[in-house]
């Protein structure tokens, strides 16, 4: 295409340094020839009314005769009576995983604390026997957490995962947002799906 712009009458390809064959510029259809009816507003108004009326009647009928598998045709999910099905990748609240004895798997290595971009985690580590560390205090400040998933990614022990909890996180006081270890623990069974998802995405078959 040898059409030009106001830039000194040079063709496009020379101006921006892209060879014309690769450029494939496409003119948008700006110079519309509006017909008389369109210029009199009538045609477009009628067309717009047809579009919205079509949505209106399809949705109205969809209230009475809902399509297969759904309660109604409209796009809305009627929360909290109905909830969305979350994908397995969903990152909700971080929780600590408890093993069969109810003790946390965490060994207080401090990687999640160092990695957290919002500095939400703080750990006080202790040793209960030589070589066996555990977190005496594990504080996760939900007011700072940005749900990025880094803590889950760097944990070498699969001790913290992003659960699918997104409800009940609000508190009336900021101090109550600092969750301690006891509030964060979940039995392994409850986070089984997330653990298997995490194992899958960070395994060498997905790398």
């Amino acid at each position: 295409m040898s059409t030009t712009t106001g830039l000194g009458q040079t063709p496009y390809s020379v101006q921006v340094g892209i060879p014309a064959a690769a450029l494939k510029a496409k003119r948008v259809r700006r110079r519309l020839d509006l017909t008389l009816w369109e210029r009199l507003y009538v045609a477009e108004i009628v067309r717009g009314l047809v579009v919205t009326s079509k949505h209106f009647f399809i949705n109205m009928i969809g209230f009475i005769f809902p399509p297969a598998g759904k309660k109604r045709k409209v796009f809305t999910v009627y929360y909290p009576e109905e909830q969305l099905a979350l994908p397995p990748a969903y990152r909700g609240r971080p929780v600590l995983v408890a093993d069969a004895d109810g003790k946390e798997k965490c060994v207080a290595c401090g990687l999640c604390e160092k990695m957290c971009p919002a500095h939400a985690i703080s750990i006080v580590a202790e040793e209960k026997a030589p070589g066996e560390r555990y977190p005496a205090r594990y504080t996760l400040d939900m007011g700072r957490c940005v749900y990025c998933g880094y803590c889950e990614e760097v944990c070498p022990k699969e001790a913290i995962v992003m659960s699918d909890e997104y409800q009940g996180l609000a508190q009336r006081d900021r101090s109550q947002l600092r969750f301690e270890k006891e509030q964060l623990l979940r039995p392994e069974g409850k986070v089984k799906t997330r653990l298997s998802y995490v194992r899958r995405i960070y395994s060498k078959w997905n790398y």
Partner: protein, 357 residues
């Protein structure tokens, strides 16, 4: 004498109930639900009484209660008298305009001739235009008395828009008046008994012009620049809260009903069913005796009238939710350079045709 009084009172009470009692709250609900269904949503339906949600109808009640209990403030530098007066001036013409609209024909009931219209004035349609002129003051006063830059802009735009469109509106109706030869709305309605004498066939251009001008008078999208939500926050009623806000809002809805009623009366056969004359209607109910037949015919005509009114309200709402809004100068240009010449041409052609035929 007494019977006349009772009849008038009955009609007034009926219209008032239907308008303010039924239409205003229902229209709030319709606006929410209709826009929601058009936009693939459910709409507001959570307000309930004792766990019983009536698909969202209680939201109107909840809104009214909430707005009643809001603090009623007047801005610091505002002109208090006009600030309080403006909503009333906006609301009263919208309600009063219904006085001349016939919602049914003439019936012989128990020896009396009942004319289903509150006031059968011989100036008919001019009464409505007079009231529309009054309604302009409400908006202008609201904008000016709030002493805020934004409200002032809204009031300015409103005054220019409403005044201009009144002129075009009046001219568009004159064509109808020439064709039917009478200003009385009851006469115009009665003359539309024959389906092919409906106003829409005799004055199609007049219908389009009138509809456009009426939506512009009512300040609905696409002409809602005085209250353009995204430019002027809320335009001329930015500084209003509580019941006064409700009055502006109700005035808008009731004027929608009025516009629909006038369009039905002038262009779409008023209370008539297509291809059914009055005599045919009465003959359907012959078995109920003359009084019963008249009563049933009256009922049918009222239902038909309000059904048509509802259709035009639906149409106005669909237009509102579909189209973007004009810019201020485009509104003015459309009125003075497009609608006014068009209505004058329409008028001249109508006059010529009536003269020659």
């Amino acid at each position: 004498m007494l019977a006349d009084l009772i009849e008038s009172l009955a009609k007034i009470v009926f219209i008032f109930t239907v308008n303010v009692g039924v239409f205003a709250p229902i229209l709030g609900w319709v606006e929410r639900k209709q826009s929601a269904v058009m936009q693939d949503r459910i709409g507001a339906n959570r307000a309930d009484i004792l766990g019983f949600t009536a698909i969202g109808l209680f939201h109107s009640l909840a809104d009214a209660l909430k707005l009643l209990t809001k603090e009623d403030f007047v801005p610091a530098n505002a002109n208090k008298f006009f600030h309080t007066l403006a909503p009333f001036i906006a609301l009263v013409p919208a309600i009063a305009a219904f006085a001349i609209i016939p919602f049914g024909g003439r019936y012989e009931l128990f020896g009396r001739e009942i004319n289903l219209v509150i006031a059968d004035l011989d100036v008919g349609i001019l009464y409505v235009f007079a009231l529309a002129g009054l309604a302009t003051y409400g908006t202008v006063l609201a904008g000016w008395s709030s002493r805020s830059n934004w409200s002032l802009l809204g009031g300015l735009r409103a005054s220019a828009q409403m005044l201009s469109y009144e002129v075009a509106m009046g001219l568009s109706i004159i064509g109808v008046i020439i064709v039917y030869g009478s200003l009385r709305l009851t006469d115009i309605g009665a003359m539309q008994e024959d389906f092919f004498r409906w106003g829409i066939f005799l004055q199609p251009v007049g219908f389009i012009i009138y509809m456009t001008c009426a939506i512009a008078e009512n300040k609905r999208i696409p002409f809602d620049i005085p209250e353009a939500e995204s430019e002027l926050v809320a335009g001329y009623f930015t500084e209003y809260s509580g019941m006064k806000f409700v009055m502006f809002w109700m005035a808008e809805f009731l004027e929608m009903v009025t516009i629909s009623a006038i369009v039905t009366t002038l262009f779409f056969g008023a209370w008539h069913i297509p291809f059914v004359t009055d005599a045919m209607l009465l003959s359907w109910f012959q078995s109920a005796g003359p009084n019963g037949a008249a009563a049933l015919a009256m009922l049918v005509n009222i239902v038909v009238f309000f059904a048509k009114v509802s259709f035009f309200i639906w149409l106005q709402m669909t237009i509102r939710w579909t189209l973007p809004r004009f810019r201020y100068d485009q509104v003015m240009r459309m009125c003075w350079k497009m609608l006014l010449p068009l209505s004058l041409i329409n008028l001249s052609i109508t006059g010529l045709v009536v003269l020659l035929l």
